[in-house]
Amino acid sequence: MSVVADVAFWVLGVLAVLAGAAVFVVDSMARATYALAVSFVAVGLQVLFLQQTYVGVVVILMMVMEMAIMAVYMVMFMGMNPALMPMSMVHDKRLALAAAIGTFLVLAAGVLLVDWPARRGSPPPDATRALGEALMGHKMLVMTVISPVMVATIVAGVVLASARTRYDRYGDDLRGAPDDPQPGGVGR
């Protein structure tokens, strides 16, 4: 089992890196987006191997969803189709490449040279339960901070992105029926 797990872990790792690289190599918007999704799914599965089952599955869930939406934005904003109009969409390519390679070398050297300490403590019998109890217990501050930030982000995102305000919908006196291009489903 151990050998199988080792091989699977490495295969997933290589897949994650290659899919990540493919994001910036392929010339199709959909392929780039879903290459990133593949990279995330591979990392999510690796996290499963590292026994954080909840975190691993949540990474897969969230990232596939995000990439499905990301694909829409890619098609929407990349006005020109690089597949039809071959052109370089990069700037500072040499600098970026140097920075990336340099970063990798430094990180890899650090990884290999640092004398990592031995494992401290043993894993909880049920990692998911431990996570839940930590979030709802003495690490609750994390979630209480994240929640208002998330709400603020939703509001800010809608404010930034929406073209029409309530004055456009209801008129200057904010009364009467909304003037929407398409009526919603609950009869407003």
């Binding site: 089992m1 151990s2 797990a5 199709s28 959909a30 392929r31 879903y34 999704a37 499963l48 191997f49 026994q51 089952t53 909840y54 599955v57 949540v58 897969i60 869930l61 596939v64 969803m65 990439m67 499905a68 939406i69 694909a71 829409v72 494992r119 894993p123 049920d126 990692a127 998911t128 398409q182 009526p183 919603g184 489903g185 609950v186 407003r188």
Partner: protein, 319 residues
């Protein structure tokens, strides 16, 4: 090297034989659903005799297998095929966590979240089918599905949350075991209804079939032909069947029932719910995705949240 206790046992339990059996059972359910749909269609069209409807899915499958693949100009074949086959794969991965009596192919400790992750994969796959064909109706269909997804996914997620709260576990088997005596569907009716709506939605079925609507010349499947189309349709039925199968441990008491063994009850309940979902298709009109968005966020989501609150209070009260 540290040992890999929980996941290793989960994976080892997923012996290939059992996986094949699960796939075979899913195949039988798909056949059941397709035949039922064929019979209902034949009756709806006023065709004489039940035989026409019974033969229909098989005749259609045979026709599609013999049909020569049509192709479009510059399709993204890779993504197209991945999307088409993906639906079937997602359905198989969903049923992997459903316990059949005592046995589960992939007994993950967070099986409920796993199911949720797999149903999100459907977003990607349906859109990819729409994108890959390089045809306008297909792509519009793909966008319609994403718009629909934004409407149904959050209510579905919160509906999935209710049973684990009551069972105090994300493991599907534990959720099934927690409803001895009283099925969750009895005191979580809202969550159950929203869950069923979610299942029909991610199967591109019934009222949520705008993505493959006739007004779009077939939407995402407009350009699908031959085996590709067969696999896509199988995937839709398989998703419907997998959704019905997952409802059994979540809401319908798992294998609980008199006389028959556990596994038989799971199959019976799955088949009944699947039949109900298939029948639903003829009862409800197709919803426009933008309408569903408002219904989902202003009606379904608050309703499910109230349901979750009730469940949480009850669970806390019971200790």
């Amino acid at each position: 090297m540290p040992e890999l206790v929980p996941l290793a046992t989960a994976v080892q339990a997923a012996a290939p034989v059992w996986s094949l059996l699960a796939a075979a059972i899913l195949g039988c359910l798909v056949m059941l659903a397709a035949v039922l749909d064929g019979v209902l269609s034949a009756r709806g069209n006023g065709a004489a005799g039940a035989g026409v409807g019974l033969r229909r899915p098989f005749a259609e499958a045979a026709r599609l297998m013999r049909q020569r693949r049509r192709t479009t100009i510059e399709p993204d074949s890779l993504l197209w095929r991945i999307g088409g086959a993906g639906l079937l794969v997602a359905a198989l991965l969903m049923v992997a966590v459903v316990p059949l009596g005592r046995w589960t192919v992939f007994d993950l400790d967070v099986g409920v979240v796993w199911f949720n992750a797999m149903d999100v994969l459907v977003w990607a796959f349906v859109w990819l089918v729409g994108w890959g064909a390089n045809s306008a109706p297909s792509l519009v269909g793909g966008y319609r599905f994403l718009a629909l997804g934004l409407g149904y996914e959050l209510p579905l997620m919160f509906a999935l949350v209710a049973p684990p709260i009551a069972a105090q576990s994300l493991n599907v088997g534990a959720v099934a075991a927690a409803q001895h005596g009283l099925w969750f569907v009895v005191w979580m009716p809202v969550a159950f209804v929203v869950y069923c709506l979610g299942v029909t939605a991610f199967s591109v079925w019934g009222p949520f079939a705008a993505a493959i609507g006739a007004d779009l010349a077939g939407g995402v499947r407009a350009e699908l032909s031959g085996v590709d189309r067969l696999v896509f349709e199988l995937g839709r039925y398989a998703l419907l069947a997998a959704g019905a199968a997952f409802a059994v441990p979540m809401f319908l008491g798992g294998g609980a029932g008199p006389l028959l063994p556990d596994w038989a009850w799971v199959l019976v309940k799955t088949a009944v719910l699947l039949a109900a979902l298939v029948g639903l298709r003829r009862r409800l009109p197709v919803l426009r995705p933008d309408k569903l968005m408002e219904v989902g966020w202003l009606v379904l989501l608050p309703a499910v949240l109230v349901q979750d609150l009730v469940v949480a209070v009850v669970a806390a009260g019971r200790g």
